[in-house]
């Protein structure tokens, strides 16, 4: 077997590249012809309305889903044809923060963060302890090490999950709705943390989110996903200034626009059995 260096010394080219990806099922296409690339060290935000395909795109990046056509390249390598061992070798270089943390409920905060270290390294117990406490310190929860996941708040759980996601010093961290359901303080803390960790640890980050205010403050590049494709991308300022009606509606949180308030339905008259002559509001 040829030896392949998992950390090539020449970090050339983008860390992630999505080329002409179409994804979905035979009878229902969710994303079509998506192209995007993400340079190392940057924070990318995927925004768009719920059900628009953001999470699908995130799952493509980690090959939790495979594209129907097109390629998803991680560090220049196509993920689709890899077998489980090759895929897992790449996934060790990724950390993922799930929407509600997905902490192991039977393990303490400390053991949750130690989990990837115990699974993938042969480090001594004292080394693991130091590493775990360092990671917990980075998210401000060194003092919560002995608590169980059911004893901490949602915002804390997400920070523990973040510590776990960066335990193996990944190159890429993916955040699935990191701000959902957080109070304003935790929200600001989490956003700041994402940016600071990205810069301090030399990560590359992808955030799927609805919280535009927080996201625009920390993202380098914003991609708006809607109607099964990328409708706009650019820096936060470029998106704010966009004249595209869809982007305008989304960025300014207007209830009606190209994204309809009403789900497609039969005419109101027919549904309520009203005679043709009567006025309908």
């Amino acid at each position: 077997m040829a030896f392949t260096d998992p950390h090539p010394t020449t970090p050339a080219g983008p860390l992630i590249e999505v080329r002409d990806v179409t994804c979905g099922y035979a009878d229902r296409i969710i994303l079509s012809n998506v192209n995007l690339s993400l340079a190392r060290g940057k924070v990318l935000a995927l925004i768009g309305s719920s059900g628009g395909g953001k999470t699908t795109l995130l799952r493509l990046l980690t090959r939790q889903l495979r594209p129907l056509s097109g390629q998803v390249l991680f560090d220049g390598q196509d993920l689709a044809p890899m077998n489980q061992d090759q895929l897992y070798a790449q996934r060790r270089r990724m950390g993922m923060l799930f929407q509600f943390g997905a902490l192991f409920t039977d393990l303490s905060v400390f053991e949750n963060v130690a989990f990837p270290l115990r699974e993938h390294t042969q480090l001594s117990e004292s080394m693991i302890r130091d590493l775990v406490l360092m990671k917990l310190n980075a998210v401000g929860l060194r003092g919560a090490r002995d608590l169980m996941p059911n004893e901490i708040s949602g915002g804390m759980a997400r920070r523990v999950a973040l510590a776990r996601a960066i335990a193996l010093d990944p190159d890429l961290v993916l955040y699935d709705e990191p701000f959902a359901g957080l109070d304003p303080i935790s929200l600001g803390v989490t956003a700041r943390l994402i940016r600071d960790l990205n810069d301090a640890l030399g990560l590359t980050s992808v955030i799927v989110t609805h919280d535009l205010h927080e996201t625009f403050a920390i993202a380098d590049h914003v991609v708006m996903v809607a109607n099964g494709g990328v409708v706009a991308q650019g820096t936060p300022d470029e998106l704010r200034a966009s004249q595209d009606p869809l982007v305008h509606q989304f960025v300014n949180a207007q209830s009606d626009g190209p994204v309809r308030f009403h789900q497609p339905a039969p005419p109101v008259r027919a549904d309520f059995g009203l005679p043709e002559s009567e006025e309908v509001a």
Binding site: Q64, R92, F98, E119, H120, A161
Partner: protein, 259 residues
């Protein structure tokens, strides 16, 4: 006109996919043995949760089954003037049949359901996905240790069930009814064969342990990650593993008689 064949074909195809998927999972669980042996501590923990925690229900049930067997056995045997054989009857019934079967049914209700619910809730909480994202295979890390723990725990539980049941039979037959203690034990000792009786019972309980653990893990792993999905899967675990145990028991007994 085409609707019926299409529906049948579609149903059949989905069933085949299901079976294929299940068989693949079983294969992966069996192959997980290597990983389990390398980190036996994971299996040991599960033997504690599945085995030790089931001991009380297994012990109490075994005791009462032993009581009842002695009473019913005595009732029949004394008609033929062979009440001393009640010890043999209790031991053979337990070791050959009731020990493995009843222990497996109790195991399905006590440990199988908790396995299904645990795996189902881990799936619902995205814990299994999180593990995959950490490049840890949840089948090797979570499911296989539980499967092999069931494989080890079940024969031990069946043995405990039978042993306690025999003590229960003794308590009813000898002190209560007044059967002679010497003939109670000596008949049992003379009539129970290590290989033909105890051995076959052990084979049965191993098969049941594998069956119940597999059904429970399969249901948990395949369940819909919602509250209704987990509850339906837990119910299916009890129904399917109980029926499988009873059907397999008949087949194994028939095979053992023909040897």
């Amino acid at each position: 006109m085409k609707a019926l064949p299409t529906a049948i074909g579609r149903g059949l195809r989905l069933k085949l996919v299901d079976w294929g998927w299940s068989a693949r999972l079983l294969g992966q669980l069996l192959l997980g043995l290597g990983a389990c042996l390398r980190r036996f501590v994971l299996v040991r923990e599960q033997i504690f949760y599945l085995g030790n925690r089931s001991l009380s229900i297994i012990g109490v049930s075994g005791l009462f089954v032993g009581f009842v067997l002695a009473l019913q056995g005595y009732y029949t045997l004394q008609r033929y003037g062979s009440a001393e054989a009640v010890g043999l009857l209790v031991a053979l019934s337990l070791v050959r049949e009731l020990g493995p079967v009843v222990a497996a049914l109790l195991f399905a209700g006590r440990a199988g359901t908790s396995l299904t619910a645990e795996i189902g809730l881990m799936k619902a909480g995205e814990q299994l996905s999180a593990m995959e994202m950490m490049a840890v295979d949840p089948i090797k890390r979570v499911l296989a240790p539980r499967f092999w723990a069931g494989f080890i725990a079940m024969p031990l539980l069946a043995a405990v069930f039978s042993a306690v049941g025999i003590v229960g039979g003794y308590l009813v037959a000898v002190p209560l009814i007044g059967v002679d203690a010497g003939s109670f034990w000596s008949q049992m000792q003379g009539g129970v064969d290590v290989f033909a009786d105890v051995g076959n019972g052990v084979i049965k309980s191993v098969v049941f342990g594998v069956t119940v653990s597999f059904v429970a893990l399969l249901q948990g792993y395949a369940c819909k990650p919602t509250p209704e999905g987990v509850s339906a899967a837990t119910t299916r675990t009890v129904v399917m593993s109980s029926l499988a145990v009873l059907a397999l028991d008949f087949m194994l007994t028939a095979m053992m008689f023909s040897i």
